[in-house]
Symmetry: C2
Subunit: 470 residues, 2 copies
């Protein structure tokens, strides 16, 4: 009996010691990762090149092609096991000459307004469009007004983002229907164009573009759609209260061309133990054309590249195959995300984990996860490891648009969650530029992503299918 | 027996219900506070005035006096129970004409350097100082070099802030001895001046000023001290490796005048239950002179003012007397903080809680506390209430310089801890201006401070002395 107790005690002590050693090993690895990123990270110089030497990278543009070449060359230098381009056909929408707009409050009395065409919109006629304006705050209000109030007018969607929501992405989600579906819905009632308040929590002069869709509206019924800066949206709304029959003029010169070939850029460290189980980390290489896309999503691209670089720098040899995937065409088509998932499926590649960074290069706060409870609990058990880095947010929620198509039973999807307060100051606007990104904040994000990949690789995904579901 | 069980069960249920109701009431109050700050806060327009209409507010300056008048007038409008000015004598150091500096690498071959005088430094002679440079990385290295290497030279303190520390204040703490004591120590070895690398984690062209001291060094032994931008510190250091005998020239025109009278600005809501127990919230009204002091510490000033305004707006009637204290002269003397504590002591005012915001107007992450374990545990029990607002940092640590002199047994001292990554990009430099503050981030800070004050007032401070210790 006594002997048994001693043996049990020894086993217990050995296990405790092992658990302690494991935790110390993990803590040391995270410390090495953060140090490497903050002292010798490469995310910032990569972003500098992408933003300042290349610039905005709209799908189908020459800049997007340059970004494909540049990031492939940079990945080639890292000594990964494989680097390749994955072809994907993408839409090509071109803004053309800068838009022009004014509000006319009396004969010859005009104020210039800051607008930009929404991505995917048609042009106005060459002479532009001038019409009365009807302001609405929702698609529902549009429906209730009907053709008799809307026909022949420009519909002005002016519902602002809710400032009282703490997570700004939630405020964005509560507004973006106006931008995405406003033209399609207004056209049904005979509107001649639409103007949408920019999705921006700040009052300033930058119009914010973004994707819109005509759905199945025939070409002949389509109307031009633009975004207006928050300052000018306020000005227009206030003026309408005094002069309801004012005229609004806008002219835009955008055009849709046939699809062109582009690429996802992919690099891989092949796994030492499970080479056929894939964990991926990525962001999207395309951006809108107004700024240089530093936050959206240059940051996610260079952070994802640095995850693989940092794993190598710290001497870590992953058990699973770890891929960086730089997706093309997240902004106006998601063709890259869809193509990657389709190819993975065709090749029977078993993806067990995917992490996306597409919320800006701000101070990281944690992650949101789309996964089952067992995996979520394992991830939550790692929280103490992240505490020294002020990473505290581990919640269920969305992950990322590009990795969404990989969703299947057993896979863990995750999205980096940086501080979101300033994101929509820059999102899809001319001021989304390199100087708006802080080097340390970007590097902390890269380290936080690398740390999660390290832990997922070390402890594996629970319940992951060993066979791909077709 | 059965009856007793029923009674006990009822008591238990009643207590559970009460606890639940209390928690719901607190959650509702915090929600009301955050909503009020984000939708109808006044911190941002106050900061706009303080920064853009007044500007830098160095102790003893006309701007500091304007700031006293303005904030008093604004507090007067809030309908508080009392508003008053508390006189305090402050030092008056004046920068004078802009500094000028260059590095001379050969006869007539010069590069202009970005420098500024450190606060409290003497001027150079009218013709400036030109001398060889000796670079050191610490006060210890200075000691080891001794007079034979230092005499007649300009000492260049170039130890950078450590980029691998997550909390940037820690990196600052690890460097600031060079700025504060460098001149005093170098003078002992016969140096003719000192140049200190700016306390800035970013490479840019802004020199960062800040307080320095000659200690008990007699006036005849004092030498001029300046800060150099990080870019120019790197340039100087690199050039010294090639040309060790290069000359460095600088000229500065600062001057110390006799002390002048200034004021702490104080407003009070008198407590309904414990009018003689005081809880205070504050920031410092003075700033350095290079920028407009928006982050340091305009943000803390307007947030503290809004705490009292938000308490009133939400209809909350505090049990304790709640004071906002806008301290004068934190930057180069701490005279306001000392005077407030001295007066409180003289009047026998029992201060039980003090909260300071002096770490910039960035997204709040939580608080650090200087208090006993019992109070700390009560505070930690409130963490779930803050979770919806992404406030997660509740740790023991420093509080704030101005409230430090109030420290006594039983008092709880707290400091707001905003995200610190960008703070030293702006700290004490020309670019600490209004545009570097984000409205939402500032407002979230004000709401977080108000929430803590509400909870401290509602649940009281444990173990607080009922009698003031004299």
């Amino acid at each position: 009996m006594k002997k048994l107790l001693v043996v049990l005690l020894l086993i217990f002590m050995a296990q405790t010691l092992e658990a302690q050693n494991t935790q110390e090993k993990d803590a040391a690895m995270l410390e090495a990762i953060y140090k490497a990123s903050l002292l010798n990270g490469n995310s910032y110089p990569w972003l500098d090149h992408l933003s300042n030497k290349i610039g905005g990278r709209l799908s189908g543009s020459i800049n997007a092609q340059k970004a494909v070449q540049y990031t492939k060359e940079e990945l080639d230098k890292l000594g990964l096991d494989k680097v390749w381009l994955q072809p994907v056909m993408v839409p090509k929408w071109v803004r053309g000459l800068k838009e022009y707009s004014f509000m006319e409050t009396g004969p010859g009395v005009t104020s210039v307004m800051n607008i930009c065409a929404l991505g995917g919109s048609i042009a106005t006629p060459n002479a532009g469009i001038k019409a009365n304006v009807i302001e609405v705050s929702s698609l529902e209000e549009l429906d209730s007004l009907g053709s008799k109030n809307i026909k022949g007018k420009i519909v002005f969607f002016n519902r602002p983002m809710r400032a009282d929501l703490i997570q700004t992405f939630e405020a964005y989600g509560g507004c973006v229907d106006q931008r995405y579906s406003g033209a399609k819905e207004a056209a049904k009632y005979g509107a001649v164009g639409i103007v949408v308040r920019s999705m921006n929590l700040r009052n300033d002069d930058f119009p914010h573009t973004g994707a819109m869709s005509y759905g199945d509206l025939p070409a002949s019924k389509r109307i031009a759609a633009c975004a207006i800066s928050t300052n000018d949206a306020n000005k227009l709304s206030n003026t309408l209260k005094l002069i309801p029959d004012l005229n609004f003029y806008f002219k835009q010169n955008c055009k849709i061309y046939p699809d062109v070939e582009s690429y996802n850029v992919i690099g891989e460290i092949t796994g030492s133990t499970y080479p056929n189980k894939y964990m991926i980390v990525g962001g999207h290489l395309d951006s809108w054309d107004l700024g240089d896309g530093s936050h959206d999503d240059g940051a996610g691209v260079v952070q994802s590249m640095d995850v693989l670089r940092l794993l190598k720098k710290t001497g870590y040899r992953p058990k699973h195959s770890i891929r960086v995937v730089l997706f093309m065409n997240e902004e106006n088509g998601l063709r890259g995300g869809n193509a990657y998932a389709t190819q993975a499926n065709l090749k029977g590649e078993n993806h067990v984990f995917a992490l996306e960074s597409d919320s800006g290069g701000f101070t990281p706060r944690g992650f949101s996860f789309d996964c089952d409870q067992e995996n979520f609990e394992q991830i939550q058990s790692w929280q103490p490891l992240f505490k020294p880095y002020l990473i505290h947010y581990f919640e269920k929620g969305g992950s990322g648009a590009d990795i969404g198509p990989l969703k299947k039973q057993g896979i863990v999807l995750a999205g980096l969650r940086p501080d979101s307060q300033r994101y929509f100051d820059y999102h899809h606007a001319e001021n989304d530029t390199f100087d708006a990104v802080n080097k340390r904040e970007l590097e902390l994000g890269a380290a936080t992503m690398t740390s999660l990949i390290y832990l997922m690789d070390t402890y594996g995904v629970k319940n992951s299918l060993t066979q791909i579901k077709k």
